[in-house]
């Protein structure tokens, strides 16, 4: 058992992704500043994207572009799964959209409330 099969490359990405998710969640839950919370969200989002990409990896695969580099007939054994790549593309864009909206919330809150501290925003409860 060498290190590579014991600890395959995609697992490294997966683990890093999962760690990023935890880090992001930690940030979202403990940081009081809205901007930091948004950064936490971005971290988490990125972590998820990494997890997604890692899932699509096939041992020894290359990019799923069937051209001169990868012949059509043997492509099945040589490329990584294109689906997670496609999904992650979409997920990134969605994450971007959410981040943008969150940021504009933060901006507006700062404008009207002159604060970015989330524990100051607790007037509606119960």
């Amino acid at each position: 058992m060498n290190m590579l099969t014991d600890f395959p490359i995609s697992l490294i990405v997966l683990c890093s992704g999962l760690c990023l998710i935890l880090l992001g969640l930690w940030g979202m839950l403990t940081q009081r500043n809205l901007i930091r919370i948004i950064i936490g969200f971005s971290l988490m989002d990125t972590g998820i994207h990494m997890v997604m990409v890692s899932i699509g990896y096939v041992t020894g695969g290359t990019a799923p572009i069937i051209n001169d580099a990868v012949a059509m007939n043997e492509a099945v054994n040589r490329v990584v799964d294109p689906v997670p790549s496609a999904l992650v593309l979409t997920a990134i864009v969605i994450g971007l959209g959410v981040t943008a909206v969150m940021l504009s919330f933060a901006v507006r809150i700062h404008k009207t409330r002159k604060t970015l501290m989330i524990d100051k925003l607790t007037e509606s409860k119960w």
Binding site: L29, M102, T112
Partner: protein
């Protein structure tokens, strides 16, 4: 041409919904720039088209077309994304699009300020459609995100400070939920190699091990969290509270609907977690309704209700799956959903229009039409007939009963009761100052008409869907709906003025009642005379008031006719439908009283509790027999005792039994005076009819191990005793008679509980008698109150001089009530005691004696303090009660006299009607009735009494009246060597039985009231302590979301990993 046609064809497919929404969405900013109006036009055209497309396709499917599968990209699934438009999808999409269209109408004043908000709204709706229709997991994620982002933005459109904070919390929580969804999706893909939901379901064996568990739980958590389960829902509540009603309504009904459907789609993957889902749904339903009790903020209240309803839906769908009852899905889930959709959306819009922060502030300045709509929507939301929620809840409960899931039934019913409590509390506020409102000014009216239109349409749609559901459940016969139709017709002429409105009402009830009841037989027929005929008789008196009485006549029509439909009910469903209709209409009638709103709420809550007991009882019966026929109740085998107890509990509550009577005095006392007569004389008999039903079907035809009849007998007699005792200490005339009513009903309960021929005859005889004398008493009291404007007895006195007829009627009624021979009361008591002795219920007999003795106290007090003693100076000039009040009383006096002298006239039909159930044991010897112990010869007693009364009377007349008699001046009495100057000094009336109070008053200290108050207190404080999680901090809410996942993981075997 061909191309155009093809395009139209494409657009008319469900796919057209996306195409139109997106196309219009993309173009709206352009149109808007050119001309604002054109942007709005495009917006509405697109929304309407979306609804129409959904409607057309759904219609096709209902007419038998197969479900539509839409494939994209020209590739077969699972390799491409496909959508499905089947029956359920179609229903959801159509409902959501309709409500979105109406919502846009409501929301338009704010939406049209920005092109962006128009397109966001449009795409939000499309996103919901997509969530419902898509069959691809990742595509589902995208639609969730489209919906979420559009929601975020529309929330953020609000300008208040709070809404931004709430919006941010919302974004935080849902973005974590979305992240979970994405993680779940990708790991499912990892295991199954596909994203198509059907394909995943087909290959669900591949989902295994820790990864499979975690991935599934990620998906589940995400969807559940989006449905806002307790306690991970503070973010949702904050948005409901702060966001504009337009978007809040769409989140509540639209977004939730989409997520709910998504959950439904994925349920096949969650077979192992159905219990968790049901628990979460159930707890959310229960707890959010409990917390709702504490809520004052209008929109947050609606938020709690929304969350509760989604909990109920979740619960329902999980249990349906668990019991493999997919066939019931459309009716139950569809019904609950449609009900929630229109009612909640309507309520949010209404809250937006009325725009009061707290529900307490609804008590002023709310227009009549708005109150009416509020009432309709709340009624629907609580699940009262004829709305879809009623039918769906019934089906759900029956289904659960069929699978013996009684715990869930209890949970659902308790939750529903709590929900009714706070919603109707809100309605009570709105009703309170209603009467002070002038009619809407015309200029304002047209504006408010446009505003109120979407709410009105929502209400109408509720009626229509309710009727539709009734049709699918095969109960939509014209007879069942006759009360509502007649009531509606009366409502149309409700704007006209004056007392003559009573005539068409009487005609409607007479004709309707005849149509409904003329083919009845046996005891039901006898009841129909009492309830419909009696109802009409008492209602004649309603003409004594000449004011407008808005709402009175329509509601009374519904009430009386629903009593008729109650009698002809063959199935428990029809029975329950009529029962609820009766409850509702009588509740509303009570609110019409001067201070009727608060006691009416108590009345309603107890009535609903009663209804839910009945429902529970029917459900157990259905579980045991699989039949809804009332006639099959007796075949319930071992469950008879429990069914009997549940149903009896329901009817006892409705009749104001011992311990659950606290609604009764308030409701009776504060109703309109003539309506109190109807309530006591007529409506209370419905409970007796119910008791008869169960006694007949369950009590007789089965041998019950533990004798619930005996318990019932005790309840009845305790009710009689304590009713009488409490009546003794009342100062308020109506409360006195109200408690007396309670006591008299107690005897009837005991009679019914006897399960013997004589017992039932006595119960029925007392019932008729009670109708007669209580009708007289309450109508007389109405007259007294009309003339004196007082209800406190010590403020009256000596009225015999002004109102001799009323006095005479009251006196006869009281003799008839007391059981003193020769009037009819004695017959009832005699039969009851004989039946009790035959049954060897000696202790109950003793109590019955005691209570009838106590009854003398309050009866005398009524006569003495109101009609005798010293007249108040200000009452010197008052006149006799109006003729129209006296007329029905006279008829009833005649009735009393007839059944007193010739009880056989009444007892024979009663006996014959009871005979099929329990064989006749009565022995007649001429006019004398013989029982095992004693005998009773009513005509002879009448003759002897007449004789012994007339002879001294004549003698006295000869001795005394031959003299010249001088009328004594009012104060010409010797009173402690003083001649009193004012009646107040000598009219002994206040605390008339103070010594009795000293002696045994301790037995009637309001313990029941204290108990129920503490129940209320407890549930409020439970609500208060359950809501401490909502600390307003977005991070806490986000933490709850994560905890939900962790909790689900641990609960579902995560520990074992």
């Amino acid at each position: 041409m061909v191309v155009t046609n093809t395009i139209i064809d494409v657009l008319l497919q469900p796919l057209g919904i996306y195409v139109l929404a997106l196309g219009a969405g993309f173009l709206i900013p352009l149109f808007y720039r050119v001309r604002r109006g054109s942007g709005v036009l495009v917006f509405f055209a697109a929304l309407a088209a979306m609804a129409v497309i959904a409607g057309l396709n759904l219609l096709a499917i209902i007419n038998g077309a197969p479900a539509i599968d839409i494939e994209t990209a020209g590739i077969k699934p699972p390799f491409s994304i496909n959508l499905r438009f089947g029956l359920l999808e179609g229903g959801f999409v159509l409902a959501v699009n309709t409500v979105a269209l109406l919502g846009a109408w409501h929301y338009l004043p704010r939406l049209k300020q920005q092109a962006a908000s128009l397109l966001l709204y449009l795409i939000l709706v499309m996103g919901i459609n997509g969530m419902v229709m898509t069959r691809d997991l990742f595509n589902l994620f995208i639609f969730i995100e489209i919906t979420s982002i559009a929601t975020y933005a529309l929330i953020g459109m609000g300008r208040s400070d709070n809404v931004l904070a709430a919006g941010f919390k919302y974004v935080m929580a849902t973005s974590i939920a979305s992240a979970f969804f994405l993680l779940g999706t990708i790991f499912l893909y990892y295991q199954t190699g596909t994203l198509n939901i059907d394909d995943i379901i087909m290959n669900r064996d591949l989902i295994e091990g820790p990864i499979g568990l975690i991935a599934t739980l990620f998906l589940l958590t995400s969807l559940l969290v989006e449905l806002k389960p307790y306690p991970a829902n503070g973010w949702g509540l904050d948005v409901y509270e702060t966001a504009d009603s337009g978007i809040a309504s769409l989140i509540s009904v639209g977004v939730s609907a989409g997520v709910f459907f998504a959950l439904y789609k994925l349920l096949p993957l969650m077979d192992n977690y159905l219990t968790s889902i049901a628990l979460i749904g159930g707890l959310t339903f229960l707890i959010s309704n409990l917390i709702g009790l504490k809520q004052e903020n209008t929109k947050r209240l609606l938020g709690y209700s929304s969350i509760g309803q989604m909990g109920l839906l979740t619960l329902a769908v999980a249990l349906l799956k668990q019991t493999d009852a997919d066939a019931h899905l459309p009716l139950i889930v569809g019904g609950l959903f449609v009900n929630h959709l229109f009612a909640k959306a309507g309520l949010f819009w209404l809250a937006g229009i009325v725009n009061r922060k707290c529900i307490g502030e609804w008590s002023s300045g709310v227009k009549r039409s708005e109150v009416l709509l509020l009432g309709v929507l709340i009624t629907a939301l609580v699940g009262l007939p004829p709305f879809p929620g009623f039918w769906a809840k019934w089906e759900l409960v029956m289904l659960l009963a069929g699978n013996e899931l009684f715990g869930w039934i209890a949970l659902i019913l308790i939750g529903s009761l709590l929900e009714a409590a706070y919603l109707f509390r809100w309605f009570s506020y709105a009703r309170q100052q209603d009467s002070e409102q002038p009619d809407d000014a015309p200029a304002e009216a047209s504006f408010s008409f446009m505003q109120i239109m979407p709410v009105t349409i929502a209400a109408l749609l509720l009626f229509i869907t309710g009727y539709g559901m009734a049709k699918t459940m095969h109960v939509a016969s014209p007879e069942v709906f006759l009360p509502l139709v007649a009531g509606f017709a009366m409502w149309l002429i409700d704007r006209s003025h004056g007392r003559l409105k009573n005539l068409p009402m009487l005609a409607a009830v007479a004709v309707g009642g005849y149509l409904l009841t003329n083919d009845l037989e046996g005891i039901n027929r006898l009841f129909s005379y009492l309830l419909v005929g009696g109802g009409i008789l008492v209602s004649i008196a309603a003409m004594y008031r000449n004011d407008n009485r808005r709402g009175f006549y329509p509601l009374l029509t519904v009430l009386l006719l629903s009593l008729a439909t109650l009698l002809r009910a063959q199935t428990s469903l029809e029975f329950f439908f009529s029962w609820e209709l009766m409850t509702l209409s009588s509740y509303l009638l009570v609110t019409l009283g001067r201070n009727g709103v608060k006691p009416a709420l108590t009345y309603l809550l107890f009535s609903l509790a009663s209804a839910y007991f009945i429902l529970a009882g029917f459900s157990v019966a259905y579980g045991a027999t699989g039949s809804l026929l009332l006639a099959d109740l007796g075949n319930s085998g071992d469950s008879v005792a429990i069914i009997f107890s549940l149903l009896a509990a329901g009817f006892i509550i409705k009749m104001g039994g011992f311990g659950v009577h606290i609604w009764l005095p308030g409701a009776y006392a504060e109703s309109d005076d003539d309506f109190t007569a109807i309530l006591s004389a007529v409506v209370s008999k419905a409970g007796i009819f119910g008791l008869f039903i169960i006694a007949a079907h369950l009590g007789v035809r089965s041998d019950i191990g533990l004798d619930p009849g005996y318990v019932l007998g005790w309840i009845g007699i305790l009710t009689a005793t304590f009713g009488a005792l409490m009546a003794v200490f009342q100062e308020d005339i109506k409360r006195l008679v109200a408690y007396s009513s309670m006591g008299q009903l107690g005897y009837i309960v005991t009679g019914m509980a006897l399960m013997s021929h004589l017992g039932w005859v006595s119960a029925m005889y007392i019932t008729v008698n009670h109708f007669l004398f209580k009708g007289i008493l309450f109508l007389s009291i109405a007259g007294v109150i009309l003339r004196t404007n007082e209800r406190l007895m010590y403020k009256m006195g000596g009225l015999i001089k002004n109102m001799p007829f009323t006095f005479t009627f009251v006196m006869i009624a009281i003799i008839a009530m007391s059981g003193v021979p020769p009037l009819s009361g004695y017959g009832g008591k005699w039969m009851l005691f004989n039946a009790l002795m035959e049954k060897q219920w000696y202790w109950i007999t003793a109590f019955a004696f005691f209570s009838s003795a106590v009854a003398f106290l309050y009866m005398f007090r009524l006569l003495q303090t109101v009609f005798l003693g010293q007249r108040k100076l200000e009452h010197a000039e008052i006149r006799e009660a109006p003729m129209i009040l006296l007329l029905p009383q006279m008829v009833m006096i005649v009735g009393i006299m007839v059944i007193s002298a010739y009880p056989k006239l009444l007892i024979d039909p009663l006996s014959a009607a009871i005979d099929p159930w329990i064989a006749n044991t009565l022995v007649w010897q001429g006019t004398a009735l013989h029982a095992h112990f004693g005998h009773w010869n009513a005509p002879m007693i009448m003759a002897v009494v007449a004789g012994v009364f007339m002879i001294p009377l004549i003698l006295l007349s000869l001795f005394a009246l031959s003299m010249k008699i001088q009328k004594v001046e009012q104060f010409n009495i010797v009173y402690a060597a003083e001649r009193p100057r004012r009646p107040e000094e000598t009219h002994f009336a206040y605390k008339f039985f103070a010594h009795y109070d000293r002696a045994i008053g301790f037995t009637v200290r309001p313990r029941a009231t204290a108990f129920w108050n503490s129940v209320v207190e407890w549930s409020h404080s439970a609500g208060a302590s359950l809501r401490i999680f909502y600390n307003g901090n977005g991070q806490t809410y986000a933490l709850f979301v994560i905890m939900y996942f962790v909790g689900l993981f641990l609960f579902n075997g995560g520990l074992a990993l």
